[in-house]
Symmetry: D2
């Protein structure tokens, strides 16, 4: 299949590579030219404009936020202006529900199709084609994208026919991860101040009731005090929790735990370091307990 791909950050590069490896003909476009090099080496073609990237059957976008996607999709040189009728725009970015709804309308108005397909997984999972894809959109559009999803992920979960539902589900997933981080941060502050060994404690948790990888991954990061380099930065975490709360407010759904998570992340970024991993909110619980900062690569870096 001929697939355009825009957005070559760490996630996007891995996903585009997976598409190429699966045998698709991939045309990439990125505002920062240098990022395409590794993919060109794998066989990708380079587009000189958004319009060129839109020439295939599907155009995939994987960018940082609403503003970046708006810049790509809207405006006279954007995707909506250049996509052929019937063609599908698959947005894999973690964007707002409102933006997904707006794009759904814009593409429909232009006789095009829009699918939201945000993914769960870190850059390593993107490279290994092991992402989880959460997709929503009209059935024919989803069918059209199936080869894309098969190439980038280990499993696809279809959430329904409204694209924005996939975005809400993705945001809620990040919300749940942040809740795990906060809860671990609090119990580790409590048991830590009592003098209980953190590794032994964490091993018990992850061997019994909390066997999900998310507890292991974040538990290790917290205990090691390893907030740098960030796998997912605090400002991105704040963005996603804020988007979840915004969607919730639009739907009139109070989320008190969400409010707590937002306040924690906001406090973290207020301290001025935007490069810290979002798991560093766990350190705030320790700090408020009067515990010394955990030594970590951060201290030496």
């Amino acid at each position: 299949m001929r697939i355009g791909f825009i957005g070559l950050g760490r996630m996007g590069t891995g996903m585009a590579a997976s598409l190429i490896r699966a045998g698709h003909q991939v045309t990439v476009f990125n505002r920062s030219a240098g990022k395409a090099a590794p993919l060109l080496g794998l066989g990708a073609r380079q587009a000189g404009s958004i319009a060129e990237a839109c020439a295939g059957e599907v155009i995939c976008t994987m960018v940082a936020d609403d503003a970046a996607l708006e810049a790509l999709a809207c405006g006279e040189h954007g995707i909506v202006a250049h996509l052929a009728p019937g063609t599908v725009h698959v947005s894999c970015s973690t964007i707002s529900v409102a933006m997904a709804q707006r794009l759904t309308g814009l593409h429909a108005g232009a006789g095009q199709q829009f699918v939201s397909a945000p993914v769960f997984g870190r850059p390593e999972a993107a490279q290994a084609a092991k992402l989880f894809v959460v997709a929503a959109g009209a059935a024919p559009a989803l069918e059209c994208c199936a080869p894309v999803f098969d190439a980038i992920g280990q499993r696809t979960f279809v959430m329904g026919t409204r694209p924005a539902d996939a975005n809400l589900v993705k945001l809620s997933g990040n919300f749940l991860i942040a809740a795990v981080i906060e809860s671990l941060g609090e119990v580790l502050a409590l048991t830590g101040k009592a003098g209980i060994d953190a590794h032994r404690y964490l091993e018990m948790l992850t061997s019994t009731l909390f066997t999900a990888p998310v507890y292991q991954t974040y538990g290790d990061l917290i205990v090691a005090g390893k907030a740098r380099p960030a796998g997912f930065t605090a400002p991105l975490g704040l963005k996603d929790v804020t988007l979840a709360l915004q969607a919730a407010q639009d739907l009139r759904v109070p989320l008190p735990l969400g409010s707590l998570l937002r306040d924690r992340l906001l406090r973290l970024v207020a301290a001025g370091d935007d490069q810290v991993d979002w798991s560093a909110i766990a350190g705030l619980a320790a700090q408020d307990a009067g515990l010394p900062a955990r030594p970590g690569p951060a201290a030496s870096g």
Copy 2:
């Protein structure tokens, strides 16, 4: 080994049965006489007093709360008064850190040994000898109890030499479970009000990042609106979260998520129904979103 066992609720009965099946000579005592019958059928002996139950090498207690254990252990007819020097009292109840510290002192003063060994697992796990045991105490005392732990559980985690540490760890574990319930309650209210199918949503979560059994178990309970019969009642959940917060206050550790959980459970019990499962706090998030109550066995029962 000759083991005394006091506290024949659903958990205690299962644990005592496991001890008998493992070949130990078990003498049971319970204030409500009838509860011992099934164990006598398995070969247990019945003690006529606490003192008689204390005649073996180890005395195990598994009761509801601090007050129940205080009534058993202290006072002129209590365990401390009757246990032979060197003998071990293993407390498996979920009690406060302060009570564990007090018992540690009382037993030490009487030349006896005290071990805290609270367990994770539901009554079915107790019956099946599949509990997880979290133990703390002096090394010789723990060694003495090893056959007990082997008989009742699938794995034992030693937390250190201070018995109260095991209690704090147990309380923190229930805290983490409550956090999972609250976080699921909030995302299910959010996605539910958006019209996303709860079963499909939950299946996605538990197939990807949240594979731990605790998400499956509580997710199912919440989606089914199945708060009765309670596996663990709201007042018990409130008790444990309150004990965690009390221990945290004594150590000067603020736990804002803990405060949220306490307020949720308190609101649940304020509604007047003490027989509801603690997972019903998830319904509060739905209620606050203006969603109708989930139909469940509760409605028809």
Copy 3:
């Protein structure tokens, strides 16, 4: 002075009347024509367009929210397009910090002046020219507006030269009022469930430490269960607390009490009644305590 006035809700009508009574020549404009009648009776002139209302030395606006002010001020038929250079737009509406910043830029770009002057006070205070004016803007512009402020208010507080500062101060004031409501709601739930007489309790509070009118006013509303007709509706309260939190997030300032207030107001509007007074959040504390709803005009109306 020749003053244009746009926005004839309950607040705006009272303010415009005060301007007329103070001897100013007031030209009013309102999208809903009928609202101007009482003011025409007092001597106001009716403008047929925004442009006509902009013909004086100052144009005052008092509308519901950002969207309403944007509709008035921006666009080809808007205030910015028609105001003469050097003329002042005084915005008395409770709008966002971001909108005030945007208007500051737009007016400056057009060689005009912009002043933010939100007010504290209920419609009765507007009628009686007893508002408190919180103003910010460049000194010459503020000087120009002094007669306006003198006519509508009992006192003016200048917050500085950046118009948006006055908006932030106004939002923070509504935040503080909401905090008073929440705190009263919680202590009244607590003492009420203990069986203490609410009137006697409130009289003690407002005679001793909490003599500010805000405690008396909201205390009476809460105890009477009088949430209708609303003096200030829950959706407006939610809007203002949300704007305060939004400004705080832009500045990276966590406000945990603000988060609590937002969640309370969101829960109130999720129940579906947009006509309820924002003080009804106090009833949520009572409800969560399992207390019966306070009888009030609402019940009988």
Copy 4:
């Protein structure tokens, strides 16, 4: 009237002096002997034991907490053991609801009377006989105490016949003050980070909607960063908020704002300085916003 007085801290000394000045015959007792000297100079008599202090018609106690009052009142050398039948014990201390209920029972069992009469006011108000007295107890007992209340306070508020109600009201009052501090701390962090002058801002608040002395007093302390010497220390504030939450839990009343206040105070004391004024929780909001600590006497002291 012959009045015994026990508890000569700063508050108690002022109250006892007021009683003497009003013409009562006051017998004082204090565990730390030196504290009585100023009162002896005013005409007080010194008791050599609790029993001696109990010889009058009324015995007043004003001590730090439950434990101190329990030590005074219970036990074989305590007040309950020595008070003549029909005599009144007036407890002015800020104690728990549970302790007041217990003392009510103990005194009734001994044929004595018990009145709770906690006070609002700082030590200066105690010296000036300007306290506010919140009293509850049986009508005859209250009548008996009227001369005491008249002597120490500017006004007495009778809350009912159950002594513990007065204690709950007192705790709720401190809760409300803490809420004022927190809300001021948050808005001052917000407006401060925006660059708005704190003095001008505070003057506006306290001249308009928030004229109660509590806003002026705490606003000034916060803006000045004056947390030392403490008028009321953080551990005492934490004690009172905790007692309010404990009473609320016993009554099954969730208080989410109370939980926030408790967490703030707990964080403050976790930092290790027990001599700081409770108003220093306002500094936490500023700290979380990334603002520098306010210079204050603390920095130079």
